[in-house]
């Protein structure tokens, strides 16, 4: 960590609360602009409900298309929250401080958007509640089928969503109290209610810290299970040879961490630029996050190589035709090359250089590339495999996404950004208490002639 300016509590309060208490005009403009895309997405959904799933590009055999790709993508992005918040909190890493709440909020909205996708893609979405207990006809003993991964999915996702929301909410209490003490009128009443009587005494802080550690530890198994369960939507199927691999669960999880942490870095760069938070989201934070990304990316790449190589391992159809489709036929060959470049071969070598890691613009663009690559990765897993399910070549198919699907996919990005920005309008997206604690814990050690930056460590 390099030298940085000392900030007082007044500075911190003023800077981090500025988006809430003195919202700039362009903020509302941005929200309205995003709102157009959200409205378009909702309109597309209404169109699909009205006319039927025929408006999508789906057919036989490609019964799952862009919407499932998007679903898996957003569940993946949602894994950043826990990765950064929980694991770094448990490891006592100082550089987590600005990133934790932004990551958790990204999780909440990414997961919420992902949870909408089953509604989009179902044939009769008004009956979706039949897949959750108590199910269709529990009076006569017909509950949801627990053997189905589509029953595991809502269980896992709702658990994750609830626990992350609780996590955010609980750790937000001290900051809501700060807002309560600085606002007036209607907002003051709302913040009062939400702050649950926070007074900031020793007992309450002690409970906060304990709760933070406990929730971090408990949410880790949830986080691993969610994307594993989503991966088992695909891996348990024997009919689609390209999906029937045992590696899917950890492969998807580490891919999720890869794309999620990249998403958080993108958001942090945007927040730093929008709200001029150079003192809070500093270069060393990007440096540390980029080094984490290198480790995660290399791990992910290993899993990808194994998964890909195992496709060739049994040397049998239809897997060989599937890989030939992915590698040699348009548009999958272009998608594959783009995916390989954007998810690994361009970003990771760049991140090996300190100058790149500390350059916020480069970090922003490389992490956007990573997420383009990871969306393509899900696309390359889902759609070509359905096009080449078994050796019966009469049933090999193809797929073209429809405009409605494209609007829904694009609109989902707007939905997530709108959610995160709306949160930033009402609650501080960098935890005030964390920033202040960071200032207190920061210190220096003299080693020879040099003052090395250091931090107090509570054990």
């Amino acid at each position: 960590m390099q030298q940085r300016p000392a900030l007082t509590e007044i500075d911190i309060n003023r800077d981090l609360l500025r988006p809430i208490l003195a919202t700039p005009m362009w903020f509302y403009g941005l929200l309205m602009f995003l709102g157009i895309f959200v409205a378009a997405a909702l309109g597309a959904f209404a169109w699909a409900i009205n006319h039927g799933t025929g408006v999508y590009g789906l057919n036989r055999p490609v019964m799952w298309g862009f919407l499932l790709v998007n679903f898996v993508f957003w569940v993946g992005i949602s894994h950043a929250g826990v990765m950064l918040s929980a694991i770094l909190r448990l490891c006592n890493a100082e550089w987590r401080r600005p990133a934790t709440r932004a990551a958790e909020v990204l999780t909440v909205f990414a997961l919420g958007t992902a949870a909408l996708h089953p509604l989009f893609h179902l044939g009769r979405p008004w009956r979706i509640y039949w897949s959750m207990p108590p199910g269709y006809d529990f009076g006569r003993g017909i509950w949801p089928d627990i053997r189905s991964p589509f029953v595991w999915d809502p269980t896992a996702i709702s658990t994750y969503l609830t626990s992350t929301a609780l996590f955010v909410g609980l750790l937000l209490l001290p900051d809501i109290a700060v807002l309560r003490d600085r606002s007036s009128g209607m907002m003051q009443r709302v913040y009062s209610m939400l702050s649950l009587g926070w007074r900031g005494n020793t007992r309450q802080w002690k409970l906060q810290v304990i709760a933070g550690f406990l929730l971090s530890a408990l949410i880790l198994p949830v986080f691993v299970s969610v994307h594993s369960i989503v991966s088992w939507d695909f891996a348990v199927q024997i009919a689609v040879e390209g999906w029937n691999a045992t590696i899917f669960a950890p492969y998807f999880v580490i891919g999720a961490v890869h794309s999620g942490v990249a998403g958080v870095i993108s958001i942090l760069a945007l927040l730093r630029w929008m709200f001029k938070w150079e003192n809070y989201i500093r270069d060393d934070h990007f440096d540390a996050l980029a080094r984490l990304m290198i480790v995660v990316a290399v791990g992910w790449f290993y899993f990808f190589i194994i998964e890909f190589m195992m496709g060739f391992y049994p040397n049998e159809e239809p897997e060989l035709s599937l890989r030939a489709l992915q590698l040699t036929e348009w548009p999958f060959n272009a998608a594959f090359i783009l995916f390989a470049l954007t998810s690994f071969f361009i970003p990771v070598p760049l991140w090996l250089f300190r100058k790149v890691r500390r350059n916020v613009a480069l970090m922003f663009w490389t992490t956007i590339l990573v997420n383009i690559g990871m969306w393509l990765e899900r696309f390359l897993i889902i759609i070509p495999s359905l096009m080449r399910k078994q050796v019966l070549t009469f049933n090999w198919g193809s797929y073209n996404p429809s405009p409605i699907e494209l609007i829904l996919v694009g609109g989902s990005f707007a939905m997530v950004f709108t959610g995160v920005l709306t949160f930033a309008k009402f609650f501080p997206i960098i935890p005030l208490s964390d920033a202040k604690e960071g200032e207190i814990m920061a210190t220096e050690i003299r080693v020879g002639k040099v003052m090395v930056p250091a931090a107090y460590r509570e054990e």
Partner: protein, 465 residues
């Protein structure tokens, strides 16, 4: 976290001068007692027993078929998983600039000397390994072109393991250079010759330090790559490719993860013993055991998660091949061993390490580590003996599950010899290479201190760029 609460607040930081560190560590390195030689003798005897067992078996069945050699393969895999994975505990935290590994990093790196044993065992295993023709291997032999890639799988197994062992030795040597330089000052006789030679003229200039750190970084990263690749290759060529039709993509990654778990356990047990035998209670204290225990808990949970990911896909599919694989690997003749593995590698670590008191102690993680090592041992037996029991490796798919292979006395002797052989190599090496990384520990003392923060003494940790 508990600010001066009833749990107390002890901060353990080593307080020594540099000269004291050198004296204590080098003193133990150069001093050999009769107890030590007794231990060496005992280990050597068991190792020789293992060699005798091998000769018995080779003479009896010969080296024609791979079928009798499952237990030897399990031994190779066990050493790879425990000893050769141990250096990771030195490499990874060094990358993260963590301070708690400083006293135990040499213990972790020193285990790479067991690589010599791995190379030795590799030879008969390669002789008995069936050729890659007509069966699925990760080298796609004959699938790309006739006779291509040449030398598969033997050449590539040799290259992987040889490079891994060389890298391990290189890492050990590099990290020991400053310590050898410190040792050469007061050494005599053969020690002085070798310490001088191996310290490569180290005097500790800025340039040399920078080169050393860069070298450690590169060697560490390479070692990690080679280790993961070695786990992949060994689990493929000595297990998965011997079972016709098996296509378990999580298997190599699961073995690599098992290696991380067993590496932590190996380092904990070794640190416990070294701490007592060498009187290093101040160097290796609660911090090391506590941090290792947290990692061990995490890796045990991950171990179970990886196993479950494999199981759910194979079990859900219910194709005849998948059902045969489930039988062969887990629920058939090796069911008892499998249950014991689940208990030792997952249930016991979870149920014990989930308690704060157990994690934050010295004996607790050590006991769990022993259980994990036992679990890893049984697990390797289960995997490799079952894979080696398939007669027709050229079939298209596994169509029946052979009966379990019970160990002969020669097999037991071999396994005992393998374990004691790796411990023997370590024991011999630790009287030459200082068992505690003196320069890293001294650096750690510079970068950590205890200071009061609002009346509470806290540790201050520096993270230099």
């Amino acid at each position: 976290m508990h600010n001066g609460g009833p749990h107390g607040h002890h901060v353990d930081l080593l307080e020594r001068t540099s000269a004291e560190v050198n004296k204590e560590v080098l003193g133990w390195t150069t001093r050999t007692s009769s107890k030590y030689w007794l231990l060496v003798l005992a280990l050597a005897a068991v190792t020789v027993l293992g060699v005798i067992g091998f000769i018995m078996k080779a003479g009896d069945g010969g080296l024609d078929s791979h079928l009798p050699w499952g237990y030897l393969a399990a031994g190779l895999a066990f050493v790879l998983t425990t000893s050769l994975s141990a250096p990771l505990i030195a490499i990874a935290p060094r990358l993260a600039k963590a301070h708690w590994t400083r006293p135990i990093s040499r213990i972790a790196e020193l285990w790479s000397v067991a690589g010599l044993l791995v190379l030795l065992i590799m030879i008969p295993l390669l002789i008995t390994l069936p050729s890659a023709a007509d069966r699925n291997t990760m080298w796609f032999y004959n699938k790309i072109a006739e006779g291509w890639p040449p030398g598969a799988p033997y050449l590539y197994i040799v290259l992987t393991l040889v490079f891994l062992v060389i890298n391990g030795f290189g890492l050990l040597w590099a990290s020991a250079i400053p310590d050898f330089a410190a040792a050469r000052e007061n050494a005599t006789g053969w020690r002085k010759t070798w310490y001088t030679r191996l310290s490569l003229g180290w005097v500790g200039t800025k340039r040399q330090w920078r080169a050393l750190r860069a070298g450690l970084g590169v060697l560490g990263a390479l070692y990690f790559m080679f280790l993961v690749f070695a786990h992949t290759v060994v689990s493929f060529d000595f297990a998965q490719s011997l079972v016709p039709g098996q296509r378990d993509s999580i298997f190599p990654t699961w073995q690599a993860l098992g290696g991380i778990q067993a590496a932590l356990a190996t380092v904990i047990v070794t640190a416990f013993i070294v701490r007592l035998a060498g009187g290093f209670k101040d160097y290796i204290n609660i911090n090391q055991f506590w941090s290792l225990a947290k990692l061990m808990l995490a890796s045990s949970l991950l171990w179970m998660y990886f196993w479950w990911s494999g199981f759910i896909v194979l079990w859900y599919g219910k194709t005849p091949l998948q059902q045969n694989l489930l039988d062969l690997m887990w629920f058939g003749p090796y069911l008892t061993i499998f249950i014991m593995t689940i208990l030792l590698s997952f249930a016991a670590p979870l149920l014990l390490l989930m308690w704060n008191g157990v994690r934050k102690s010295i004996l607790g993680p050590t006991i769990v580590a022993v259980l994990i090592l036992a679990g890893a041992f049984l697990d390797k037996i289960r995997i490799y003996v079952s894979s080696y029991s398939i007669e027709d490796v050229n079939a298209h798919a596994l169509d029946h599950v052979p009966a379990g292979v019970t160990p002969e006395s020669a097999d037991i002797m071999i396994l005992m010899g393998v374990v004691s052989g790796s411990i023997l190599l370590f024991t011999l090496a630790l009287k030459f290479v200082p068992i505690i990384n003196m320069w890293e520990v001294r650096e750690g003392m510079l970068l950590q201190e205890i200071r009061p923060l609002k009346k509470l003494p806290l540790k201050v940790i520096a993270k230099p760029e």
